[in-house]
């Protein structure tokens, strides 16, 4: 065997067991990838939709018009968040595997959990930025419409000359207008998207195609809205066979409960929100993320490429 005559390269410096910096690098790379895929063009579509809804004269009263603008815009935000979470997550990891970019990433000192977390964080950063922009646009639109309607009600009259009917009408407009609590509805959409993205990551670690991952993720998302129905069946144990009961129990364990986010619909319609509901939502979102990421790691850690 030839003994080298040149000076050999020195050993590499120590690498940390887990590195937030590596996760962040992968997250920013995912963000760049999604941005360069022109993902944010969706925001223009959202702005156009909002302008169309805001200027279309379909409601019988200003309060109804404001309520409709809120419902449509927050509905669009919610739809964007969960749908984007599923599609982007389902495409990113299989694409890295197909393009074999994963080879070069995992042959560097990168742990597989860091890779999965990086991808999840990248998708969530895009969703977070998009929801923030949409929320600001939406808040501006609602406030602009609200102020316009109030000005129409007041007309040329001074505050002292306002009738009781006008005062009530203004109060109704304000009730259906912008409230800071609407930010909690946007936060709920974000958290819902985070849970659905973690489910999609789990599926994409073993699924054979992106289409399968997308379809199953959408199904899990839709079925996850039937937890109350499943609980009712569960409680009425005498009405069901052991098989049905077992299936329902499995359903409740495996499928995340997306109904915990549904209180945001009430916020959009002007209902008050209990702090406990927000804490419950945050806690369960964190728990779901931990569980689904650990399950993803279990299937991904020994995956061969």
């Amino acid at each position: 065997m030839n003994e080298p005559t040149t000076t050999l390269q020195s050993p590499a410096r120590e690498v940390p067991v887990f590195s937030i910096s590596r996760v962040w690098t992968l997250a920013i790379s995912t963000l760049t990838q999604l941005v360069r895929m022109k993902t944010f063009y969706f925001l223009f579509a959202f702005a156009v939709l909002l302008l169309a809804v805001g200027n279309f004269n379909f409601a019988s009263s200003p309060a109804q018009a404001l309520s409709t603008v809120k419902k449509v815009s927050f509905g669009a935000m919610d739809l964007f968040a969960w749908l984007f979470a599923i599609v982007a997550t389902a495409l990113l990891i299989p694409r890295d595997i197909e393009d074999r970019t994963l080879y070069t990433i995992l042959s560097k000192p990168v742990r597989r959990i860091e890779y999965l977390l990086g991808k999840l964080c990248g998708v969530l950063i895009v969703i977070g930025i998009s929801l923030s922009v949409m929320f600001v646009v939406c808040a501006g639109m609602i406030q602009w419409k609200e102020l316009g309607y109030i000005a129409d009600e007041i007309g040329d009259t001074t505050p002292e000359q306002l009738t009781e009917d006008t005062r009530q009408a203004i109060l109704l407009i304000q009730k259906n207008g912008f409230h800071p609590e609407l930010a909690i509805a946007a936060l709920a959409s974000f958290m819902k998207a985070a849970v659905v993205a973690s489910v999609t990551i789990l599926l994409s670690t073993f699924a054979s195609s992106s289409l399968f991952t997308i379809i199953v993720s959408v199904l899990v998302f839709l079925v996850g809205h039937a937890h109350t129905m499943a609980t009712n069946f569960w409680l009425a144990e005498t009405d069901n066979s052991i098989v049905t009961q077992t299936l329902l129990k499995l359903f409740k364990i495996i499928i995340p409960n997306f109904q915990i986010f549904s209180f945001s619909e009430g916020i959009v319609q002007g209902a008050a929100v209990a702090p406990s509901a927000i804490w419950q939502m945050g806690g369960l979102t964190g728990a779901y993320l931990v569980v689904f990421m650990l399950l993803s790691l279990l299937t991904f850690v020994d995956k061969e490429f």
Binding site: E3, P4, T6, A12, R100
Partner: protein, 288 residues
């Protein structure tokens, strides 16, 4: 002798594609070592188990039996990958990133940052002659350029071991020569190079030792001289030999009963060398 850069012991890799009893033995009880500082070539036909062996060494696959170590670390250990740079057969990088961004991405994954990373990127772009294309996205790179930026990312953290899978696959002879020269420079700089290829001429030019693998088994292994010399034959290359001298040589040969002239003629260049010669000549004419 220092610790081996790569130590593969009784490595066996079995695939069970359809969960049935139809097992495919991709690598069969393979053992070899790559010494620190040497250029080792693993050659064999397609499907011989070269890439599978490489993937096990890289920790992308687990061994069914046996072990693979990099500088004493198990190949699945993150410290083994910290000592390793890998260039895959075809360049697999994010096409939306520029050459510079690609190196920055891989550098950050290896823990480099700040001016150290910036300087290393500049140094590597110069080494692979891509300074002019640093800001261009990889989607617009030619295959040779992709291979060179790939080689640069392989070296980003100054790994002690560089693994190259078919480093010149699909690259034209000029690009191929550049990569070959880079491999020779890596050897000069004290890197260990482990390469897989089925381009024998290339392996012959750069490798200190070679392993020949067929159907997952090591068939021959040794230094290049050991492997390619024909012990029973001797070659002489003469310049300006007169017909009289040639006649004397023929007479001497025929006077020995055991000796026999096998071949006589003018030595030939290789097609690759001829192509490069013409390309160089063309380049000189254009610049004149």
């Amino acid at each position: 002798m220092s610790e081996p850069a790569v130590e593969v012991k009784n490595l066996t890799k079995i695939f069970s594609p359809d969960l049935s009893k139809n097992h495919i033995v991709a690598v069969d009880n393979l053992s070899f070592e790559v010494a620190a500082g040497e250029v080792y070539g693993l050659i064999g036909p397609n499907g011989s188990g070269k890439s599978t062996t490489m993937k096990v060494v890289l920790g992308l696959m687990a061994a069914s039996k046996g072990s693979a170590k990099v500088f004493g670390y198990d190949s699945g250990d993150i410290r083994a990958r910290n000592e390793t740079g890998f260039l895959p057969e075809n360049p697999y990088f994010y096409k939306h990133l520029s050459g510079e961004e690609t190196l920055k991405f891989y550098g950050k994954l290896c823990g480099l940052k700040g001016s150290e990373l910036k300087d290393r990127i500049a140094e590597l772009l110069k080494l692979v002659d891509l300074e002019g294309a640093a800001k261009r996205r990889l989607g617009g790179y030619s295959k040779g350029m992709l291979q060179r930026i790939g080689l640069a990312q392989t070296l980003i953290q100054n790994p002690r071991l560089v693994i190259l899978d078919e480093p010149t696959a699909g690259v034209d002879p000029v690009g191929s020569r550049q990569i070959r020269d880079l491999i020779l420079k890596l050897k000069e700089d004290g890197f260990t190079v482990f390469l897989c290829s089925h381009l024998l001429e290339q392996v012959q030019e750069v490798c200190d030792r070679v392993g020949i693998i067929f159907k997952g088994r090591m068939r021959r292994e040794g230094t290049l001289d050991e492997l390619i010399q024909i012990e029973s034959q001797t070659a002489m290359t003469l310049e300006n030999a007169s017909p009289e001298l040639m006649g004397k040589i023929h007479d001497l040969i025929s006077s020995d009963a055991a000796a026999k002239m096998i071949e006589e003629g003018h030595p030939r260049t290789t097609l690759e060398r001829l192509f490069i010669q013409i390309a160089d000549q063309n380049k000189k004419e254009e610049s004149a």
